[in-house]
Symmetry: C2
Subunit: 337 residues, 2 copies
DNA sequence: CTTGGCAGTTGAACGTGTCGAGTGCCAATG
DNA sequence: CATTGGCACTCGACACGTTCAACTGCCAAG
């Protein structure tokens, strides 16, 4: 399958089908693209493409639509990703730079990506595996309830309210904080759970139960802090492509509410030569997403996290790839500054 | 309209239509409910109900379906809200009690409510308007970046990373923290913005610019902290009731992504005698939600925040009301402990 | 006020015929 | 040997007509 004209025909079929959502026949193809050959020749090429499983005819006498394999060939064939329009790039710059907090940047970014691609956008909150403990705070809330705050060097803040077995005052908490910090400060987050175990032995026996409770909370927070999260935006766009999900968009919406599924989805993708990963239909392992495609790429320091869009298999891949890549680049730049 | 039989007929029509999604005729009604009268009598009653605008016939010769006004009568007519099943109540107790953090409780609760009602669930994060400043933390992140953390007595934690005009070390930050706390500690969150303005004058002129930046960040955090948020769950359930939204579920999904809309939706509801608020169709001001209904109730101290479900106008009101009320009660109990 | 019956209405379902788009194949051609 | 024009054939979409079942509304009788 190296015949350049056949590749061209495949490309034309994908483009037309993506736009019209209707099977495309040989004649219609001729009208919209000047391929320099007659309809009959196209038909022969189409027959070959069908033999190779790249396109398929829904019914005996109707136009062809691309198969997953066809989309895959189409995507692999894309030489260079076209840049975004000036207006789009300006919108990206304006919105991203207008945010303060890291979280705010991510939220605005994912909404923006959803808007420009008209699809569901996903962004993984960056994980700093080498983050260390920057600070620990204990705050008495009254009635024995205490707020435990763990601040990581990455800027991530985790909090939890716990109930201490013995009620303690602010000054005691301040002392405890010193003990905790002496052991944990500047230590890797990943070591917190282990180190926290030994802390109760450092204090007076009377305080040990309270400290044990706090240590457990810190372990949980540290674990939490190293758990990935994924933000989504534009789920409403899914409903618009209702017709593209033969059965229903329900399973897709359900999958979008399951962080675990999305994380696995991202982790299973492999980036191609352009640094963009595309998962088409059943290439995505998760059953609910076998009718969907994902376009994603890494961003940030060492591409530690991913950003991407999710839509129907019949999606405009070039546009999505361009948007995802452009947004990821801007985002990386902002985060690095 | 005080004829008890007619009310009974209305109730039967609503129940049947909610279950079958099909216009209900006089004969079908007789088969499913023993009303003690003949079909002809029912027909007369139906004619009266139609005159009053409580039901309507989609086409000349077809069964009747309830109008919004009909649903409203139906809901108002509900005498007592039936309790949940033992299994359901056990599930609520288990899930809610298994959470640590306040936020975790809310997240689990809203997911649970979505599951048992098979609808979209919404929960407003409680607002403590009388919350005070419990703690302020400044953490140097390097490269002049500083993390500002504001902890409220409500347990809410707001954070933001800022860029200081002059780079300052940890020990200086500790001093600044003392100054900030001396002014703001235990003050109402609502006063932070005003009080923070005067702080730069309390420090040496050299530090003033840095402190001004911090003060601005604190103002923003305080403002943020008194902004309501709404968590949602079960959006996938919307897709299942696709047929109940004549046009499309797109506008509804869009509305669900807009916090402002949801807040206004909640704020416009009025609770009835049972303490449950029901907004039916166009009773909801927001255009995208005029085909939807909301069932909600307050929870927590003084019913400061609301929890509820959103679904098609053709929803099972008694079940939804029961679930919302039960979940709200459990939640209030947990939060109070 | 209720009831049985009857005429009238109407959307849904189904079968039929036509139309257009598209394919596959084949012989002819450069 | 790839390409081309032509032709027969297939099949879904659409429009149309018919039938069917479910209702309603009304009326006269109980």
């Amino acid at each position: 399958m190296t015949d350049p004209r056949r590749l061209e025909v495949l490309r034309a079929i994908v483009e037309d089908y993506v736009q019209s959502r209707e099977p495309v026949g040989s004649r219609a193809l001729l009208e919209r693209h000047n391929l320099g050959v007659s309809a009959a020749t196209i038909r022969n090429d189409m027959a070959s493409l069908e033999d190779e499983g790249l396109i398929v005819a829904p019914h005996t006498s109707s136009g062809r639509i691309p198969t997953e394999k066809g989309y895959r060939h189409f995507v692999d064939q894309i030489g260079d990703v076209k840049p975004l329009s000036v207006a789009e790039r300006r919108a990206i710059a304006a919105l991203i730079e207008g945010s303060h907090d890291v979280n705010e940047v991510l939220e605005n970014t994912v909404r923006l990506l959803a808007t420009i691609t008209q699809q569901v956008a996903l962004i993984q909150v960056p994980q700093y595996s080498n983050a260390t403990v920057r600070h620990i705070e204990l705050v008495a809330l009254g009635a024995g309830q205490t707020l435990v705050v763990l601040i990581a060097s990455s800027g991530r803040v985790e909090q939890r309210v716990i109930l201490l077995p013995t009620s303690v005052g602010d000054e005691v908490l301040a002392g405890l904080r010193q003990v905790l910090l002496s052991v944990l400060n500047a230590k890797p987050i990943s070591d917190v759970a282990r180190l926290a175990l030994g802390i109760p032995e450092l204090v007076s026996p009377g305080m040990a139960p309270a400290v044990r409770t706090i240590a457990e909370a810190l372990s949980a927070l540290a674990r939490n802090s190293s758990v990935d999260r994924i933000l989504t935006a534009g789920t409403a766009n899914l409903a618009r492509s209702n017709l593209d999900f033969p059965l229903s968009i329900t399973p897709v919406l359900e999958a979008l509410e399951e962080q675990v599924v999305l994380l696995r989805l991202f982790s299973e993708l492999e980036q191609d030569a352009h640094g963009i990963a595309v998962g088409i239909g059943t290439e995505n392992q998760y059953i609910a997403l076998t009718e969907a495609s994902v376009v994603a790429t890494g961003y940030g320091h060492g591409e530690q996290a991913m950003i991407g869009v999710l839509g129907p298999t019949r999606m405009n891949y070039p546009t999505s790839m361009a948007a995802v890549r452009a947004v990821a680049r801007y985002l990386s730049r902002i985060l690095a500054s």
